[in-house]
């Protein structure tokens, strides 16, 4: 997995590319923790190019959401591929995450 981060209007956009699984979820965990430490608490995770996620990946997303909420930030997702969206649905995560179809819509949340 590759993580590309860009700063736009005070929002950190994290583009996840490839697969988020048990072998690499810790990279995303470290990235999110470092951003919060740097007081970057407006995070948008763009999943356009995320092709696979397992429970390890979902766990990190949930951790990110909880951490960011605890410091009164915002953690938003956008552009989930269909297979990934289904996994979010099975998990009941669609009701606790803010998920948007496009990056533009997601940016309006900040």
């Amino acid at each position: 997995m590759e993580i590309v981060d860009t700063l736009q209007d005070g929002v950190v956009i994290l583009e996840l590319r490839g697969r988020l699984d048990t072998t690499n979820y810790s990279f995303l965990e470290e990235k999110i923790m470092k951003l919060i430490d740097d007081n970057r608490i407006h995070l948008l995770v763009d999943c356009t190019d995320l092709s696979y996620i397992s429970s390890s990946g979902l766990r990190i997303m949930l951790m990110g959401l909880k951490k960011v909420n605890s410091v009164k930030g915002r953690f938003v997702l956008c552009c989930l591929q269909e297979n990934i969206r289904e996994i979010f649905e099975i998990s009941g995560f669609t009701s606790i995450f803010s998920i948007f179809a496009t990056r533009q819509e997601a940016m309006k949340q900040f």
Binding site: T22, T23, S54, M63, S91, S95
Partner: protein, 138 residues
């Protein structure tokens, strides 16, 4: 019936070989991208469980994965020589409907497996754990 088999070590980096195995077989058997995704997920969750919790020693162990397809019925058989453990005895997470504050992190992997597959069973045979799963793929 066509059958494919892979033997991996109890090392999490082996997930990459599992991915290649499923993609190659999936292409050969004309499985949909969705089915390939689902089976990859099922295997990752089960194998990760075995690697992290199945062995008390620091030895290298083999885990065998057999996948077969007959009349659009895909079957998986996973065998390991770890301590006896039936992953399907673990209850489904109870907090799927709960709010963010109430949700515990974790416990989802086996739940995915049960949601995705049509049948899941466990048996202990000699010193081996054997998981048998099936799913209609069309």
């Amino acid at each position: 019936m066509t059958t494919a088999r892979i033997i991996i070590r109890n090392d999490i980096q082996e997930l990459e070989r599992i991915r290649e195995f499923i993609e190659r077989q999936g292409d050969e058997w004309n499985l949909s991208a969705k089915n390939i995704f689902s089976i990859n997920l099922v295997l990752e969750e089960l194998i990760t469980n075995i690697i992290f919790y199945g062995f008390d020693d620091d030895q290298v162990h083999d885990i065998s994965i057999r996948m077969s397809l007959k009349n659009d019925m895909l079957r998986l058989r996973i065998e390991d020589d770890g301590k006896p453990f039936n992953p399907f005895h673990v209850d489904a997470p109870e907090d799927l409907d709960k709010s963010l504050e109430e949700r515990k992190i974790g416990g989802l992997g086996i739940y995915f497996v049960r949601e995705i597959m049509d049948t899941c069973s466990y048996e202990r045979s000699g010193n081996k754990n054997r998981l048998l799963l099936s799913k209609q793929v069309k």
